[in-house]
């Protein structure tokens, strides 16, 4: 339980870097993966999951209002599973699902936030210095939402799957390994076309 809480806490902090604060790339897979891996005492699995996450999501860019799946959520949920003894090739699958669900939740939150921001604008109009407090509140709310998502989704999925794991056949394990082994190749092939030169 301790490692799950720690992963959710640090994961939520790192996730702020994706959009809401800094954008110093602490939240990219190759940085967040090893850092979160360090928390559960398995840096190498963290590194591999981080690399795979970044390669898998390399075809997404945060252009305009587009919302890529969260690399931090993917790494945190995957490593939660690993910390409970689930092999990385299964837990990564749940990490990817978690990242997709999180981006759906995030889209909903951003739509709802518009009315919240409108209320803050009214307060700023009355007292201009309130803008700082509005920023602090927005950061706090984003952190809390991410923390709860990672904790609930990652904790629930990992705890359920760890009970199912002993009943899975060897063939299913091989299937998971095959799909997991495919990830870097899918990503590397995409990287080549990412750099495709267009007319200047």
């Amino acid at each position: 339980m301790g490692s799950i809480l720690l992963l959710a806490l640090v994961g939520a902090l790192l996730e702020l870097d994706t959009t809401y604060a800094f954008q110093l790339t602490f939240s990219r897979g190759i940085v967040a993966g090893p850092l979160l891996g360090l928390l559960i005492g398995d840096v190498m699995t963290g590194l591999q999951i981080g690399i795979f996450t970044e390669l898998l999501f390399v075809d997404f860019s945060p252009l305009g209002g587009m919302l890529p799946p969260s690399a931090v959520v993917c790494c945190a949920v995957s490593l939660m599973g690993c910390s409970l003894g689930i092999p990385a090739y299964f837990s990564f699958f749940f990490g990817v699902l978690g990242a997709i669900f999180f981006s759906i939740c995030e889209i909903y939150v951003r739509k709802q936030r518009a009315s919240w921001v409108a209320r803050q604008e009214q307060k700023i109009f009355k007292k201009p210095s309130y803008v700082t407090w509005a920023i602090v509140k927005a950061l706090g709310l984003s952190f809390a939402m991410t923390f709860l998502f990672i904790l609930i989704f990652g904790g629930a999925v990992s705890n359920v799957f760890v009970k199912v794991l002993p009943y899975l056949s060897e063939q299913l394990n091989i299937a998971g390994k095959f799909a997991y082994m495919a990830v870097p190749w899918i990503g590397l092939a995409t990287l080549v076309s990412t750099f495709r030169l267009k007319a200047r």
């Binding site: 954008q23 739509k111 936030r113 518009a114 080549v192």
Partner: protein
């Protein structure tokens, strides 16, 4: 603009996207970034500050690193607005301010998205992957071999610093360049040859990516000692199949993650039956 104000805008710019929403995008962040500057400009006329902030709370959206060009330009235009002596001049400058805010945010977003998200981020990923392979960190294997923390975090640090040195430089320099730019200087944007930078980064990127792909194939099939012919063929088929599938789905606009999820489901169904 003095150094203290420059530093304030720079540090506050890290929170430009806090409060991002689908109605007005980065409006709350822009008001937060510009607040100390506006407070200083309107120190003698505190009653004007709320209505001025309302302008900054209107729609605004750009790339966070390149946003610094908008901050400097808007600060300069705000000074001109505050100095307007008559209503017609004020209105003329206000419409200029609005036009600059809109056009500069679009231009800098276009450059920033292509440079930072389209070229620099994938390029630094390739850079880190090459370092790990050079240090014998074979991440293609399911059972990844243990390596020292220095090797792991060394490559992370290189990728992190490469991205941030350029990003922070643009963030810092953009404020002063756009603030001090002459009238025909495109708010400092023409100080850099962005297209050439992006083009060169992409040219290097495609070279690195191709080399890494071949290097990866070599790593993946190199250790033949422990492999039987069947295992070798299986590995080669996986590589060829997924590289081809990835190239096809990319052209079809299908995201990689769905390819992976489909692979997981199909393999599991095959495994079950």
């Amino acid at each position: 603009m003095n150094f203290t104000m420059h530093a304030k805008l720079f540090f506050r710019s890290f929170f430009l996207q806090t409060g991002w929403n689908f109605a007005k995008y980065q409006n709350l962040g822009l008001a937060f970034v510009m607040f100390p500057f506006l407070k200083k400009i309107y120190a003698q006329d505190k009653d004007a500050l709320p209505s001025v902030l309302q302008r900054y709370l209107a729609n605004f959206n750009t790339q966070p690193a390149m946003a610094s060009f908008c901050f400097g330009a808007l600060a300069k235009q705000e000074e001109r607005l505050a100095q307007a002596k008559t209503l017609p001049i004020y209105q003329e400058r206000l419409s200029e301010w609005n036009a600059i805010k809109r056009s500069l945010s679009i231009t800098s977003a276009s450059i920033g998205d292509r440079l930072f998200w389209g070229a620099l981020k994938p390029f630094t990923l390739l850079f880190a992957l090459c370092i790990w392979l050079l240090l014998d960190v074979n991440f293609f294997e399911i059972e990844i071999q243990h390596t020292g923390l220095v090797q792991v975090f060394g490559a992370v640090l290189v990728a992190f610093c490469t991205f941030n040195v350029l990003s922070l430089f643009v963030k810092w320099k953009g404020i002063s360049l756009s603030y001090h730019a002459p009238n025909n200087g495109c708010f400092g944007l023409t100080q850099f040859d962005w297209n050439k930078t992006i083009y060169d980064a992409k040219r290097m990127g495609i070279l690195f990516a191709s080399v890494l792909l071949l290097w990866g194939v070599y790593y993946f099939v190199n250790d033949l000692s422990g492999l039987t012919t069947i295992q070798f063929i299986t590995r080669a088929v996986i590589v060829l199949f997924f590289v081809s599938i990835s190239l096809i789905t990319r052209d079809l606009g299908i995201p990689n993650m769905y390819v992976y999820i489909a692979a997981m489901l199909i393999f599991s169904i095959v495994g079950l039956f």
